[in-house]
């Protein structure tokens, strides 16, 4: 839990001064006058709007979006300027979009209001003048003494003053804050009065800051006729709002931070918005279309004035201008003409695209939550979608950064063996490790001295922060998921351990197996039961907490006999320099061997402190803990000072099993052309063996190591060696490597040497911040190039921030590849937030990662389906959606543009206003929405079986300029067809068999009919997966169009100024010529598409080519037959492949 990333704090530091709180809000000295300081009240306001400001504020928020703003401008232009289409045509869709969004946001805000109300009105007990008073939670003021009973949630941030427990502690779970459901111990301020009424004290503490795990403060206790006593306050004294009191009857605490200043409220922030690559493409295309729009308007305006300059054209006798028009300034008129053309053509950028894209994303994301393959029976949960904006990004991933512990491995620790004084002790029943049938192992192999053994086991029993869950029998200990060892039955005793790290439980249980049982911590004394079933008691003097920088933790205990002992455990690299060198050699061998086998190793050391030494350490620690400023640094210094000259007594090996199907998943990802990087805080050997186990590294892989060890070279400086190695590796991996075919990162031929690259944290930081700044970019370039040519990269010994740094570096490298981070712990949060897509694994290390992720899945193995099936499908769907939308609006508006050449550039719309409005909303929206939700151009099984298919859509393949150009050309071609086809037909407008003629609205209606049918059928041609829904919406849309046209033209609408379409559609259908032209135009427009289907080479974006030899997982038979290029099929084999 200490491996938190301190990401939220900072920035606040500069305005830090402390706040002073009077406990009970009473002056402490009679001489002083109590001035109530102005702190905010305890009201939580998470809602954004009130009833009054909802409308203006929400509208403002919505119109800040560039698209909405654009449509608003268009709408306003329509209202102000005399434009060809009524404001309704663009106003209605905009109004619809705005209203729907407003309702959604309003509803969400209403929920927040409700939640706020519940929190704010929650009754709490406040001690006032010796009486307990019931109050509403929002009325709590800083300095109030609040009483909280068991299972209640703390109403604000409190300093614990009094607990009902004997040992002045209380237990708390912070499940709702960081997801850790283990019980954390908090301590009362030492030596405070039992009688809170008589307590007269002030608290001086820092200003509110969001870091949940940081708090510094000081309490001054005033007693009559005495110097005020000073007590230091730390996070262990602070009870956070939102946490729940457990295992403690009641506590009293003084409010220090209230309302919006509580740490929970300060942490309540929206995550930064991630934008997907598709969205960037949309924006780029939008820009193109905006240019098309503007150039169309400019062309039309220019031509209009050229045309008008000819005699008699501008104002023929039959078409006089109004007086107002005549009076208008010429330039102003030009401008309004330009605006009018913009309005006329603005449908080329449709409002509805945004709506459809949003709907597609929102609805589409349900398929992830609904997928039963993501359901994990163990935790009874499926996948979780935190943002639906990135669905398609899942199909674009090029780099996967994965955490090791808990992600690649199960984080389900099991004590495997230990090494005491160089001798190896291995448990017999390791294959069946969960059920120890023959009780605790009575005897260790008598190799090391008994004394050493017992010392080692005592160290294991003492050096941890594990708690024993009390009354575990009556509750259901096995249901606790996070960080709790409740999974496995313990045959001999109902003993349940709670710890923040599963390693510690494994160690304590390991020691138990060897006869030393940890019984619990009571009032600062630890009890252990030794092999002789005697109870030993140790007084816990200090805990030198674990932190990721030191990578070790220690305890200082005092035994019954008065000896003061320091036990320390930690990573080998952090222990070895602090013990006597001659002891190292014996154990190092074991540690390294264990690490290569994939075990997590910890070294255990101890030190006997003399009285003087202890006194020095004690005062140092106390002073440091009291410090208000730089407490961390000071503590660190003391820790480092104390943890020296220890003697190494042994090492432990804990196994962390691989996740289910970890290797298959990794292999599939690599087959999909995704580069997998393992970023771990673990040590190199362990991580390396995990990489081998998941087949990220294979036997033939040549490993390029760039670690502290390879850099150690007596002759030259580390920087120089680093450069030398980088150059060397670069030569081997990049220059000598045969040119790799685009997109293929892993070949199956043996000719290509594969490289695996390993770097550790220290080297990385050296490389990122070299002594000479100038080298930084050189190092970075070499590094990136080596990495890009390696099949897998392993970064070990990473601090959380370094993980994010790596992700950032890759993210910003050339070609800005799409990155995905997957992790389960709080230490992965930084990289999850940094990567384009963050995936949280619902693991054992709390819910921090899940909360900060974009998607959360129960297991690593689900990543395969998430990317290869869901990601691929989502990408294909949305890419098609986007292209189709632009296409359909291009061929919608192009005839309208062309018509200007035939109507004197007068902005006369070709289509009726109803058609203009309904085209995107009703006639063509549903089929594409259904397509973008249901399309499976390949079945999910095929996608899962052939990871290589993922490469076909890599690098945004379907939204690059080439496909975009194709769609645009198609749209232009069809638009031209529609317009000129009907134009030639209308060279003789007598189209009915009774000699009657058609007018301009018939012209538009024929074009529009062809248009609606063509774009819908084009989609039908692209649909590869016809469910009944597709059938329903495609044929339904066409039927609706016909029905609507009849209906719209069938009635004299009283609210319409002009009955333009009255019976136009019916008359059109009575003309054989109109039928014939509609049929041929639809066919002609779709002809290129049909032709392409036949001619399409295997390279095309939809192709399913795949050489059978290339598939790494043997493709099924059906997939192969459909994977063959279309032209390769003869009629003869048609009979059996097409049914």
């Amino acid at each position: 839990m200490l491996r938190r990333l301190n990401r939220l704090c900072g920035g606040d530091e500069n305005r830090v001064d402390s706040r002073t709180i009077y406990i009970g809000r009473r002056p402490c000295l009679e001489t002083e006058v109590f001035i109530p300081s102005k702190f905010c009240d305890n009201r939580i306001v998470s809602s954004k709007y009130t009833v009054w400001n909802f409308l203006p504020k929400n509208l403002f928020e919505q119109f800040r979006r560039i698209a909405n703003f654009y449509f608003l401008i268009i709408f306003l232009v329509q209202v102000i300027v005399d434009t060809p289409t009524s404001p309704v045509t663009s106003g209605l869709p905009l109004f619809f979009v705005i209203t729907v969004t407003a309702i959604k946001q309003g509803y969400e805000d209403w929920l927040r209001h409700k939640a706020d109300y519940e929190v704010n009105k929650y009754p709490v007990t406040v001690l006032e003048d010796g009486r307990s008073v019931k109050k509403e939670s929002e009325r709590i003021k800083v300095g109030d003494v609040v009483e909280v009973v068991e299972d209640e949630i703390f109403p604000c941030d409190l300093i614990l003053l009094q607990s009902s427990r004997e040992d002045d502690t209380c237990f708390v779970t912070t499940a709702s804050l960081d997801g850790e459901s283990n019980h954390k111990t908090h301590y009362t301020v030492p030596d405070t009065e039992k009688d809170l009424q008589a307590l007269s004290a002030t608290i001086e503490c820092e200003q509110p800051q969001p870091d949940l795990y940081k708090f510094v403060g000081r309490m001054h206790i005033y007693k009559a006729d005495q110097e005020p006593a000073v007590r230091s306050l730390g996070p262990e004294n602070l009870l956070l709002k939102g946490a729940t009191l457990k295992n403690t009857k009641k506590i009293n605490g003084v409010a220090v931070y209230t309302g919006m200043e509580t740490k929970m409220a300060l942490n309540y922030q929206g995550k930064s918005q991630k934008r997907s690559a598709v969205e960037k493409s949309i924006n780029a295309f939008l820009l193109v279309y905006l240019c098309i729009l503007i150039s169309k308007a400019v062309v039309c305006t220019t031509l209009k004035y050229v045309w008008q300059s000819k005699e008699g054209q501008d104002e023929p006798w039959y078409n006089q201008k109004t007086q107002k028009e005549k009076d208008t300034n010429m330039y102003l008129k030009m401008f309004t003409d330009f605006l009018s053309f913009m309005v006329l053509f603005n449908f080329i950028i449709p409002v509805s695209m945004y709506v459809t894209v949003e709907m597609q994303k929102f609805l589409g994301s349900f398929f992830i939550t609904w997928d039963k393959d993501f359901f994990d029976p163990e935790i009874q949960e499926g996948a979780l979608v935190n943002t639906s904006d990135l669905n398609e990004e899942l199909g674009q991933v090029e780099y996967v950064f994965t955490d090791k512990t808990g992600t690649l491995t199960q984080n389900n620790m099991e004590f495997i063996e230990c090494c005491i004084d160089g001798f190896q002790y291995r448990h017999r029943d390791e294959l069946d490790g969960f059920t120890v049938t023959d009780g605790p192992v009575g005897k260790l192999q008598q190799k090391a001295g008994l004394e050493k053994e017992e010392l080692f086991l005592r160290a294991l029993c003492l050096c941890h922060t594990v708690q024993v869950k009390e009354d575990g029998a009556e509750e259901t200990p096995r249901d606790q998921v996070d960080g709790v060892d409740g999974m496995f039955p313990q045959p001999e005793e109902e003993r349940c351990f709670i710890a923040s790290s599963p390693d510690e439980i494994a160690l304590v249980k390991g020691a138990m197996r060897y006869g030393f049982t940890f019984l619990g911590l009571e009032s600062k004394s630890m009890k252990i039961k030794n092999r002789q079933n005697d109870i030993e008691e140790y007084k816990l003097l200090h805990v030198l907490n674990f932190d990721p920088v030191r990578r070790r933790m220690s305890v200082i205990v005092q035994s019954k006999s008065g000896e003061t002992l320091l036990f320390c455990k930690g990573a080998d690299s952090s222990i070895f320099p602090r013990v006597k060198p001659e002891e190292v050699d014996r154990i190092q061998l074991h540690v390294e061997r264990n690490a290569t086998e994939g075990y997590r190793t910890l070294c255990v050391a101890f030190k006997q402190l003399s009285a003087e030494e202890y006194a020095v350490a004690d005062t140092g620690l106390r002073e440091a803990r009291l410090a208000l400023q730089d407490r961390e640094e000071k503590l660190m210094a003391i820790y480092n000072q104390v943890e020296t000259d220890m003697s190494l007594i042994g090492a432990t090996a804990v196994e962390d099993r691989l996740q289910e199907e970890a290797a298959e998943t990794m292999e599939a990802l690599q087959g999909a052309g995704i580069k997998v990087w393992v970023l771990t805080g673990d040590k190199m050997e362990t991580a390396k063996s995990t990489c081998y186990a998941c087949r990220l590294f294979q036997r033939g892989t040549e490993l390029l190591e760039l670690t502290v060890r390879t850099l150690e070279d007596g002759r030259i400086k580390r920087e120089d060696k680093l450069l030398e190695l980088l150059r060397d590796y670069h030569r081997r991996a990049v220059q000598d490597a045969p040119p790799v075919k685009a997109g293929v990162t892993r070949s199956w031929s043996t000719a290509n040497q594969e490289y695996g690259f390993i770097i550790d944290g220290a080297t990385l930081s050296l490389m990122m911040n070299p002594p000479r700044d100038a080298d930084a970019s050189l190092y970075r370039n070499l590094f990136l190039q080596i990495c890009q040519n390696s099949t897998a990269v392993l970064c070990c010994r990473m601090a959380p921030l370094q993980k994010a740094q790596i992700v950032k570096m890759v993210k910003n490298s050339k070609g800005s590849p799409i990155t995905l981070s997957i992790g389960d712990g709080a230490n992965d949060v930084s990289m999850i937030l940094e990567a384009h897509v963050g995936i949280g694994v619902k693991g054992k290390e709390g819910r921090q990662a899940v909360r900060n992720s974009d998607y959360a899945i129960p297991k690593l193995k689900h990543l395969k389906k998430l990317l290869l099936a869901h990601g691929h499908l989502y990408y294909v769907r949305i890419a098609h959606l986007v292209q189709y939308f632009f296409y359909k609006n291009l061929c919608f508006i192009l005839p309208q543009f062309l018509y200007q050449f035939f109507c004197g550039y007068s902005q006369q719309p070709l289509y009726d206003a109803a058609y203009l409005t309904m085209y995107n909303i009703c006639f063509t929206s549903m089929p594409i929405l259904a397509y973008s939700l249901l399309e499976q151009h390949m079945s999910i099984e095929v996608l899962l079986d052939n990871a290589t298919l993922y490469r076909e859509i890599a690098k945004n393949a379907m939204l690059r300029w080439r496909p975009f150009l194709y769609w645009t050309v198609l749209g232009i071609f069809q638009g031209l067809m529609f317009f000129f086809g009907v134009r030639f037909l209308f060279s003789n407008p007598a189209l009915q068999d009774n000699g009657q003629v058609f007018g301009n609205w018939s012209y538009g209606t024929i074009v529009f009919t062809v248009l609606v049918f063509t774009v819908t059928l084009k989609l039908a041609l692209d649909t590869r997966h016809w469910t009944w829904i597709n059938h329903f919406v495609i044929w339904g849309s066409l039927a609706f169009y016909v029905f609507f046209s009849f209906f719209w033209g069938g009635i004299i609408w009283p609210f319409l100024k002009q009955q333009r379409l009255y019976f136009v559609f019916a008359n059109m259908l009575s003309s054989v010529s109109a039928w014939l032209v509609i049929i041929i135009l639809i066919l002609l427009s779709l002809l290129p598409e049909l032709l392409l289907v036949v001619l399409r080479k295997p390279r095309g974006p939809h192709s399913r080519q795949k050489k059978p030899g290339q598939s790494n997982v043997g493709g099924s038979h059906s997939s192969q037959s459909s994977a063959r290029p279309l032209l390769m099929r003869t009629f003869s084999d048609e009979s059996n492949s097409v049914k």
């Binding site: 005699e311 023929p316 039959y318 078409n319 201008k321 609904w370 997928d371 039963k372 359901f375 499926g382 999974m487 099993r657 996740q659 289910e660 081998y692 186990a693 087949r695 004197g904 007068s906 902005q907 006369q908 719309p909 249901l934 999910i940 037909l985 060279s987 407008p989 007598a990 009915q992 068999d993 000699g995 009657q996 003629v997 007018g999 301009n1000 041609l1021 590869r1024 016809w1026 009944w1028 004299i1052 100024k1057 002009q1058 009955q1059 019976f1063 008359n1067 003309s1071 054989v1072 010529s1073 014939l1076 032209v1077 066919l1083 032709l1091 036949v1094 459909s1122 063959r1124 290029p1125 279309l1126 032209l1127 003869t1130 492949s1137």
Partner: protein, 365 residues
């Protein structure tokens, strides 16, 4: 080394599955419905050369005959156009076009003679055609008041703003707007010159030239027994010679429901257009409607087009089931049909030549 880990990993499988024993499945498990699991039964058509190629042939085989049929039909339609704008000095209407004035009270008449080489069978339709006349100009198209034309009394008194500047001329104009104001008002009369020299006027039917729904529903005279009385408070459009209630003597064809007026009010799609003017009914099966011979067209030249370089013409045409003469459709169908057929042949050729070779190399599966 790697192989040793495989065993361990299988171990992992066991432990994973061991954990789920015994726990009751709660409701959070996603529903196993076909829709939610994206497994709806689906028809998965695969467009292949095999399915598309026959389609090409079928399209070709269907379209070419249709196209030929259309082409022949179109060619069988007889049509004659007579331009009478009078821009040329030689044209009989030159004087009329030159001396045009809105104020002249005496109508200018001109006579054009023409010869039909072939007889026109069955009903003949007489059109007038205008060129460079932008009936589809936006300002023009919207300059009308449909509710006035539908007989709404309020709109009669207070025409729509859209009608500006043809809305009010001291009194509200009925029918208002630019379209109505510029109604075509040339009178065309057709005479057949007998071989013996007598001039027979050909009867022109003026009913049935407008859409039935327009005539009977969309256009209505304001309620009132006497049209003159109904329109008493309105002014005639400025360029009209007669008020709207004097368009015809037939009460079924007068006022807003005058068919000439309705035809004009249906704005044309393109600046060159024709509108149905009169119908020459077939007399009997024995004699052609318009026999071969000489004809004269007498034009009462009221409609000025010179100012905007327009052209006027009179068209006589027979009509087929596909409408008037228009070779476009026939040509289009023949072309598309031929292209499809040709493509089908080419593709079949490619398909056979290259398909086989690829197939042989593809045999391993």
């Amino acid at each position: 080394m790697a192989s040793s880990y495989n065993a361990k990993e299988e171990d992992g499988h066991l432990s994973g599955s061991a954990g789920l024993g015994g726990t009751a499945i709660r409701t959070r498990k996603p529903d196993n419905t076909a829709f939610k699991q994206q497994r709806l039964p689906a028809w998965q058509p695969i467009l292949t050369a095999g399915t598309v190629l026959p389609a090409f042939f079928v399209i070709g085989l269907i379209f070419i005959p249709i196209g030929i049929g259309l082409f022949v039909t179109s060619n069988n339609i007889k049509e004659i156009e007579i331009e009478y704008t009078g821009t040329d000095m030689s044209s009989p209407c030159f004087n009329c076009s030159q001396n045009f004035s809105w104020n002249s009270t005496t109508p200018c008449k001109c006579v054009l003679s023409f010869t039909l080489d072939q007889p026109f069978e069955s009903n003949v339709f007489m059109y007038y055609g205008l060129s460079n006349f932008y009936q589809n100009h936006r300002r023009y198209v919207k300059s009308r008041d449909d509710s006035q034309l539908n007989g709404d009394l309020n709109s009669l008194k207070d025409p729509s703003k859209e009608c500006e500047p043809y809305r009010v001329n001291e009194k509200p104009i009925a029918p208002c707007g630019a379209i109505a104001n510029s109604m075509f008002n040339d009178t065309l009369d057709l005479f057949y010159i007998d071989p013996n020299g007598t001039k027979n006027q050909i009867p022109l039917v003026k009913k049935g030239i407008a859409w039935w729904t327009d005539k009977h529903v969309k256009f209505r005279n304001p309620a009132g027994s006497n049209l003159t009385a109904v329109f008493i408070d309105t002014a005639k459009p400025v360029n009209w010679r007669k008020p709207v209630y004097e368009l015809d003597t037939d009460s079924e064809n007068n006022g807003f429901i005058n068919e000439d007026f309705i035809v004009w009010m249906r704005t044309a799609a393109l600046p060159t257009f024709r509108k149905l003017y009169r119908i020459i009914q077939k007399k009997n099966n024995m004699t052609p409607t318009l026999p071969r011979g000489n004809y004269t067209l007498e034009v009462t030249y009221n409609y000025p087009v010179r100012s905007f370089e327009g052209r006027k013409r009179m068209i006589l045409s027979t009509i087929s089931w596909m409408g008037g003469k228009n070779p476009f459709l026939g040509i289009a169908y023949i072309t598309v049909g031929s292209i499809c057929f040709f493509l089908g042949v080419v593709l079949l050729f490619i398909h056979h030549k290259y398909g086989n070779r690829n197939n042989s190399s593809d045999i391993p599966n």
